[in-house]
């Protein structure tokens, strides 16, 4: 039965019929229809179910406040759940009713909709394209503002010139200082707008309020204004024999418009009359309980409300951020006065629905109050009213009013609960936008990355960096490759791409004094040309980062940080310089990527550098450990530092990044006759663990102090301040039972993270005394080794600890943490 009139419908184009399917039945509509208007035009008054108790439901509204008519869209795009009132009808649309709960499509079912982001700056943003919104936009444009106007419907009437108009766009949230995130949703594209506006005008309109009476959720019950909208915009007469139940004149006007279009108004009911008896004799019951300004966005920014007796609802009181304004019916202007009436009295409130999408009734509110709750916010949490997809657009004010009424308090005692962003559901894919796949988080590659790729490197993620983990040859396993790379470094030479280490240029007359405050040891006593290893502590005294400082001149240092903490350390330097010590004359510059760092290590490292050709005197006496030299290697200007993270003779060659690859390739070819191998981070980890060198972020986890590592020597004793110093003297820092770094010789390879106990009682729980922080098969020792943090560990050397694991207990002897070359004899080659 068609309910489409022969004429009328300002939004539809009758020359463009459209075929669509709903619930497996084919229907026709017109271009300009919404799915809801087309369903009503085809006489579909029900067609939906309530989510929890399965009651029949029909379209109740004509807008985003719809609590009943939810659908899944399957063609030509996919949407897991959306209100039929907000779906623009397109040819070939296929929709299924959904009872308030969506489902995720299998990826193969539907091609994903492209999701993009867009930033825009305007002087004035207007949310809502009704009369007041358009008026505000025109006024702003006439002032010379850049103006953006959003409307969630697919059409904005009387769109003004000189204003950027975005239909199908919902403001998801308003944030500090005029930042608004909005979702533009079309069949082809989801676009998330990041709007920065000098001024935000909320012209969000008002929504007609339902009334709580028995059976107010049945199909055929509709907000009066919605029926008028379907008539005016879509030429649809939603019912022929109609009753109207209203507290205000606008309800009567809506009924009049239907009467003028040919409907019979069978009953006109007002406050105190029982509409439930009228339902059965009519095919449409119009309801108007007054109008609520739409204030979700206003309230999300802390905008205040006041109760209006005339409107029997809440409107803005004007107290909000200075850049945020509410106009038109959202402010309460022009709304019809209403009698104060929300609830039809009854003995039994179990069919007086309040939140249709949560199937919650006045009886549920009463039960929550009977349980002792007195706040609308608590009632919301007890009943879930207002937490469904529509976020209580029709139920929020009604619930507060009924809470006030049942508690016997004044109507202004409690207002509606607050809704939070996003105002409508938004998919994670849209929030991610283009930041997905390889773009999810930037991938950082060193200047040598392509060489590593060409030489078969297997990469690992270190922060955002891709670092070569190992370089397998001819089908080598990871274990075989790592063992081979370790042997090359111990017996001949290896080369590591250490370019990811953070590097900061620290310059100025107070540079040395500044670094003294940042590091636990003194940098001011470091001679020019020398290098010192240092710890940086947090304010809590825990080791935060480590690195070396090279003194380039009296007032000039180059300091290194760990790969992962490079940005954090520079931020910390700047924070202390700018906020605490502005009197220090120091400038810091990040030069991490200015330099490629080619680290050559091994007993034949000196021969490799010599073979490259250099003007630097490599003799151990002329170029001792922990010094650096500027010069040329292989004809390239470089800075060479004698530091070692492997225990072997090492030269770290810092070279202008643009020439990094050239130098690396020269090292590989000059080193080839000497048995050089490129090695990755895994071999680096094994080699340093054999030497007991700790890694910040692995052996050091934010609970470890220098003395816990047996490195109390790195903390200066004289009375001058450095960050974290005071915390080292707290009682807890001086406890004798702190966990300390030890080495372990286990009977088989321990998993990292394994918990250690003194005695394997076989009964859970067992008191834990520490855990394994690093564990490797050591090619140099030919056995498994591990580093661990153990209570009073230094006094336990020689004792046995146990790691009870699901597949059996591993026992391990506690030893000092330096497994290989404890005398340091190999350092100079």
């Amino acid at each position: 039965m068609s309910r489409r009139l022969d004429t009328g419908g300002s939004w539809i184009d009758r020359s463009r019929p459209i075929t669509f399917r709903f619930d497996e039945v084919e229907y026709e509509g017109f271009e300009g229809d919404t799915l809801a208007s087309a369903l009503l035009a085809n006489g579909v008054t029900g067609g939906f179910r309530s989510p929890i108790i399965g009651r029949p439901r029909g379209v109740m509204t004509a807008g985003p406040e719809e609590p009943n008519a939810f659908v899944e869209i399957n063609e030509p795009w996919f949407d897991p759940i959306v209100a039929a009132t907000m779906v623009e009808l397109v040819d070939g649309l296929v929709a299924e009713p959904r009872a308030g709960v969506g489902r995720l499509a299998a990826p193969a079912e539907v091609p994903p909709v492209d999701a993009v982001h867009r930033h825009i700056h305007v002087e004035t943003l207007v949310v809502g394209g009704g009369r007041s919104g358009v008026k505000a936009a025109v006024a702003a444009a006439n002032r010379g503002d850049r103006v953006l106007l959003l409307d969630e419907r697919h059409r904005v009437d009387n769109a003004p010139d000189g204003v950027t108009v975005l239909p199908r766009t919902t403001a998801l949230g308003v944030y500090d200082d005029g930042y608004v995130v909005a979702l533009e949703s079309t069949p082809e594209l989801e676009r998330l707008w990041h709007v920065r506006a000098g001024r935000v005008v909320l012209a969000t309109g008002a929504t007609e309020r339902p009334i709580a009476f028995a059976g107010n959720d049945r199909p055929g019950v509709m907000l009066a204004s919605a029926a008028a909208t379907y008539l005016e915009r879509f030429g649809v007469l939603a019912g022929e024999r109609v009753a109207i139940f209203t507290t205000n004149d606008s309800g009567l006007e809506s009924a009049d418009s239907l009467r003028a279009a040919g409907a019979e108004i069978a009953h006109t009911l007002g406050v105190g009359e029982d509409p439930s008896t009228a339902i059965d004799g009519v095919d449409l019951l119009l309801v108007s309980g007054g109008w609520n300004p739409n204030l979700t966005l206003w309230r999300s920014m802390g905008g205040g409300l006041r109760y209006s007796r005339r409107l029997a609802t809440f409107r803005p009181n004007g107290n909000g951020p200075p850049w945020l304004e509410v106009v038109g019916s959202a402010y309460g202007d022009g709304l019809p006065g209403s009698e104060t009436y929300w609830l039809e009295s009854a003995e039994d409130y179990s069919e007086h629905f309040v939140d249709l999408q949560r199937d919650q009734t006045v009886a549920d509110i009463a039960a929550a109050l009977d349980a002792g709750l007195v706040s609308a916010e608590h009632v919301k949490r007890a009943t879930y009213i207002g937490t469904a997809i529509d976020q209580g657009r029709t139920s929020g004010v009604l619930t507060a009013a009924i809470v006030n009424q049942l508690l016997g308090t004044d109507p202004d005692a409690q207002g509606p609960t607050s809704a939070r962003p996003p105002a409508v559901p938004v998919s994670y894919a849209t929030i991610a936008g283009p930041d997905r796949g390889d773009l999810l988080d930037p991938i950082r590659r060193t200047r040598l990355h392509r060489w590593h790729e060409e030489h078969g490197a297997v990469f690992e993620d270190v922060g955002q960096w891709k670092r070569p983990r190992y370089f397998p040859r001819h089908g080598e396993t990871v274990d075989a490759a790592v063992a081979r790379e370790c042997r090359a470094v111990r017996n001949a030479a290896g080369v590591l791409d250490a370019s990811t280490l953070g590097k900061i240029d620290v310059a100025g007359p107070d540079a040395a004094a500044f670094l003294d405050r940042m590091y636990t040891n003194r940098m001011s006593t470091l001679p020019v040309g020398s290098i010192r290893y240092g710890f940086m502590l947090g304010l809590d005294g825990m080791v935060g980062d480590d690195g070396v400082a090279l003194r380039l001149s009296e007032d000039h240092f180059l300091v290194t940080t760990t790969t992962g903490n490079a940005a954090m350390v520079l931020d910390r330097f700047e924070e202390w310089l700018q906020t605490e010590w502005p009197e220090l004359r120091v400038y810091c510059t990040s030069v991490t990527e200015q330099w490629s760092d080619v680290a050559v290590a091994g007993p034949r490292a000196r021969e490799v550098i010599a073979a490259l050709g250099t003007d630097i005197d490599l003799a151990p006496d002329a170029f001792p450990f922990m010094t650096f030299r500027d010069g040329a290697v292989a004809g390239v200007s470089v800075r060479v530092a004698r530091v070692s993270f492997t225990g072997e003779l090492s030269y770290e060659i810092l070279v202008d990044g643009r020439r990094g690859l050239e130098l690396w390739e020269a090292v590989m070819s000059a080193g080839a006759p000497l048995g050089i191998a490129s090695y990755g981070t895994e071999a680096m980890h094994v080699l340093r663990a054999e030497k007991g060198f700790v890694i910040v972020g692995q052996d050091i986890d934010g609970t470890v102090m220098p003395d816990d590592l047996g490195m109390g020597w790195i903390v200066r004793k004289e009375d001058s301040d450095f960050i974290g110093r005071r915390s080292l003297r707290r009682a807890d820092s001086l406890r004798e039972d702190r966990k300390q770094l030890v080495g372990l010789l286990p009977d088989r390879l321990l998993p990292e993270g394994a918990q250690l106990v003194e005695e394997d009682t076989g009964r859970i729980p067992m008191p834990m005394i520490g855990h394994v922080t690093s564990s490797y098969a050591s090619p140099s020792l030919g056995r498994p080794i591990a580093l661990a943090i153990v209570e009073r560990g230094r006094s336990r050397h020689g004792e046995t600890v146990y790691a009870p694991l699901p597949d059996g207990t591993i026992s391990a002897e506690i030893v000092p943490p330096v497994f290989y070359d404890p005398e340091g004899a190999r350092r100079d080659g």
Partner: protein, 156 residues
């Protein structure tokens, strides 16, 4: 397409930190670029500038700066390898998909520069003329930025 939009530039870059009162070049408004003996000087902060010159001018730039600052607290750092440089043609609309700056032609004009984020990567933008935006990015992020521009251009 991306390759036509983006053209790599090999340039000298020198970072300068000093009190504005002792600079050898004209100090400009925040976020603008001035020229100094044919080089671009980008304002990066109240006491921070980036001098950008043609290839081969590095020694001259450093010498002139060091001469001007002699004896006074300053920092002059070669950062020529610390950032890769691309020139992007007609790209402001594209950049606005992943950059929060106001790049509208009425506000973002030739001669302006800014440190910002594009596609989560730190960049310096320098508007050279109406059509050309120079992008300075850390070399490690360069592939990421190129790919982000390619994807953005594809999605539109």
């Amino acid at each position: 397409m991306t390759d036509e939009l983006l053209v790599a530039a090999e340039l000298v870059q020198v970072g300068v930190r000093a009190d504005p009162s002792i600079l050898p070049f004209e100090t400009a408004e925040p976020n603008t670029v001035t020229t100094w003996n044919g080089r671009d000087v980008l304002w990066l902060g109240p006491d921070e500038w980036l001098v950008v010159g043609e290839q081969g001018t590095e020694d001259a730039i450093r010498r002139e700066l060091e001469d001007a600052f002699a004896g006074r607290h300053h920092s002059v750092v070669d950062v020529g390898a610390n950032r890769t440089v691309f020139d992007l043609t007609d790209g402001l609309d594209l950049l606005s998909n992943s950059c929060g700056l106001d790049l509208h032609s009425s506000r973002w004009r030739p001669g302006m520069c800014a440190q910002t984020l594009f596609a989560q990567a730190q960049v310096i933008l320098h508007q050279r003329d109406v059509r050309t935006t120079r992008i300075f990015v850390r070399p490690s992020f360069a592939d990421h930025v190129r790919e982000a521009i390619r994807v953005t251009e594809f999605l539109g």
